[in-house]
């Protein structure tokens, strides 16, 4: 269409078609932000690969939003650098970065129509109306909003507004898209719908996405990699699978998915394996299951982390954990058993559906066994 006419602009050289749009890598090194004496972001090093979907996940105040604001150029780093491809962005003002961004509360311009909103970044790049019109249409079609150009933002639902915001952020074909809790203001069903839509867009466009969220489920669903942040630092960086199965700290273990923590004692060390006594069961774990790779000694107290699906209900045995069943919750695909050990630790156990014959629904005393290969072991202090 009109794409040929925009090629050759000094400040903007998009590839000839949207399908060929290439994401670019972001390199963050030694990046810090201090607000007076408060450290918002503490010496973060991170490389986001070209075309990657990376989530910054953490509780509020963990520094994830501040980090994103420094990528967008709205916060000036106290130290460190940000670069996009080979270009150093650290001191570049936000309007010269050419990075797309989607905000939590849509941030559509209320006095402009949907089409004017989407055309805004093209207008800023000196494109005429005739040049921008087909691109605006194409971008709206991409978020399934063709024909909505003439409406005002206030006439759209929250989900539609956020889709317009996505269309606006992508219309100028930026190599990177930043998303600041973009689905935070939407209800659960719509959120899940848009998660899939954004994921699909990402797959078809190849743009690099940095996605901020405090919702671990959202991060697990959407990301190639997740950087879990706390206290201004990246606590762990890895694929959703790695973070779920091999958390390096009890913070990450606790933050991602459901996790039970039991206290245990190191009973013996041999052949690179560790024997641990946990509330009546002796488990043998590999050294690689030790979060943080710390050295352990015999008799040392540890925290043993077990996912609800890695605990099984067993017959009475000397080598099992005796518990008092408190309640069991029907959850459709499975049943969750809430039980308490003799030392008062509450455990959640996921019982597979096949085990749900009404007759053996557990009550009163029961015995649980941890699946040793799926455990993570942390030092008692973290």
């Amino acid at each position: 269409m009109s794409e040929t006419s925009i090629i050759g602009r000094a400040d903007w050289d998009p590839p000839p078609s949207a399908a060929a749009l290439k994401g670019e890598a972001i390199t963050i090194s030694g990046l810090s932000k201090r607000f007076g004496s408060v450290v918002g972001v503490d010496h973060v090093d991170l490389r986001v690969e070209a075309g990657e979907f990376l989530s910054l996940l953490g509780p509020s105040g963990s520094g994830k939003t501040t980090l994103l604001m420094m990528l967008a150029g709205f916060e000036t780093p106290s130290s460190g650098t940000v670069s996009l491809g080979a270009r150093d962005l650290t001191r570049v003002p936000p309007d010269k970065r050419g990075i797309g961004m989607v905000f939590q509360r849509y941030a559509l311009f209320p006095h402009m129509s949907v089409a004017q909103n989407v055309a805004f970044p093209l207008k800023m790049r000196g494109m005429s109306r005739a040049e921008s019109e087909p691109l605006v249409e194409q971008s709206l079609a991409r978020v399934r909003l063709e024909g909505y150009g003439g409406r005002m933002p206030s006439q759209l639902s929250g989900g539609q507004q956020q889709r317009v915001a996505v269309a606006r952020a992508l219309v100028f074909q930026p190599p990177v898209l930043l998303m600041d809790e973009p689905l935070g203001a939407l209800d659960k069903k719509l959120r899940e719908e848009l998660q899939i839509e954004i994921k699909t867009l990402h797959a078809s466009l190849g743009v690099t996405i940095v996605y901020v969220t405090h919702d671990q489920e959202e991060a697990l669903t959407m990301s190639d990699r997740i950087a879990v942040m706390d206290k201004g630092r990246i606590q762990q960086l890895g694929s959703p699978v790695a973070l779920y199965h091999e958390p390096e700290s009890s913070f990450v273990a606790d933050f991602i998915g459901k996790m039970n923590f039991l206290s245990g004692t190191v009973a013996g060390l041999n052949d690179g394996r560790i024997e641990i006594d946990v509330s009546g069961q002796r488990v043998s774990v590999a050294r690689s299951q030790l979060g943080g790779r710390r050295e352990l000694g015999r008799g040392q107290a540890v925290r043993v982390a077990a996912r609800p699906e890695s605990i099984a209900l067993v017959q009475a045995s000397d080598d099992a954990i005796p518990v008092e069943v408190e309640t069991s919750i029907f959850l459709g695909s499975h049943r969750t058993l809430v039980a308490r050990t003799t030392d008062g630790t509450q455990l959640q156990v996921q019982l597979p559906f096949a085990r749900l014959a009404a007759a053996d629904e557990p009550r009163g005393m029961a015995f649980l066994r941890l699946e040793p290969g799926a455990l993570r072991v942390f030092g008692a202090e973290g």
Binding site: D95, F109, F120
Partner: protein
């Protein structure tokens, strides 16, 4: 925010029975009726019944050009004051809206304290500044910049400067409140999409603050049209406005019927201009 308040107000009204709402409104209706509507109606009636029906006083306004000239000058002064108040007030409102905590409070105090000070006091303050032996003239003389004291007071310029100062808060406050209601991420979004700070202001912040600008401008303009104290004090007898003219007719010449005609004219002009403003502005909003 505004929507939420409006909704609560409506629900509160909804809970009141009709007689109860009328009873609540009654004191103000009575006060306005006796203290405002009746005297104004009497004054206006007096301009055409003196004691028999006559157009004499209204014709006089048209026949003697001096009166229409005064009216024109009043409208012109009001327009200049409105534009100046906008030019001076908008930046203040903008800075104020971007401040947090202590800074915002300091600026708000600077805007509000003059508002709470009597107009009379503020107008006399301008006399102190502008008169022949006033602060400005003495300073200029001392620095040797002038040989003779400048004629500052009792000029149209003095009236404009003093009125702008007195009416400035009425411009700043509505603009401030409309700027404050603009979500800050809109400016960020514009910056992110490629707009420099000035372009973002021109294309996003300014258009979204226009309702406040309109409210402030109409308020300042209407107040300026009927402003009495400041023009009377710093304008002197040579710089009559419609309001000072009406004052002169009632207190010095005791020509109540003619004052009534002038007051009727001022009222008509004011309402007419407000109607035109509203038409133009609602037009602007739709486009």
């Amino acid at each position: 925010m505004a929507d939420a308040t409006a909704a609560t107000d409506r629900s509160l009204v909804g809970q009141l029975s009709r007689p109860a709402s009328l009873a609540l409104a009654l004191p103000l209706v009575l006060l306005l009726g006796f203290a405002f509507v009746v005297p104004v109606a009497k004054l206006l009636a007096g301009s055409v019944f003196a004691p028999n029906l006559t157009a004499e006083h209204w014709l006089r306004i048209v026949q003697e050009p001096i009166f229409l000239r005064i009216l024109l000058r009043t409208v012109q002064t009001a327009a200049i004051v409105t534009v100046l108040a906008f030019l001076l007030g908008y930046p203040v409102a903008l800075v104020m809206s971007r401040q947090q905590g202590r800074g915002a409070m300091l600026i708000a105090a600077c805007v509000l304290i003059p508002l709470w000070t009597s107009v009379l006091v503020r107008s006399y303050a301008w006399i102190v500044l502008l008169q022949r032996t006033g602060i400005i003239n003495s300073a200029l003389l001392n620095w040797g910049l002038i040989d003779q004291p400048l004629r500052l007071i009792y000029t149209e310029g003095a009236v404009i400067v003093a009125m702008t100062h007195v009416l400035l808060p009425y411009m700043i406050l509505p603009i401030f409140s409309s700027l404050r209601s603009i979500p800050p991420e809109l400016d960020r979004a514009a910056r992110n999409l490629g707009a420099g700070p000035w372009t973002s202001f021109r294309m996003v912040t300014l258009p979204l603050s226009l309702p406040g600008v309109y409210a402030g401008a109409i308020m300042v303009f209407i107040l300026s049209l009927g402003f009495y104290v400041t023009p009377a004090l710093v304008g002197g007898p040579q710089n009559l406005t419609i309001a000072t003219l009406i004052g002169q007719q009632t207190t010095e010449l005791l020509n109540w019927p003619f004052a009534g005609a002038l007051a009727g004219l001022l009222l008509a002009v004011t309402l007419g201009l407000v109607a035109v403003f509203r038409r133009v502005l609602s037009f602007g909003k739709a486009g």
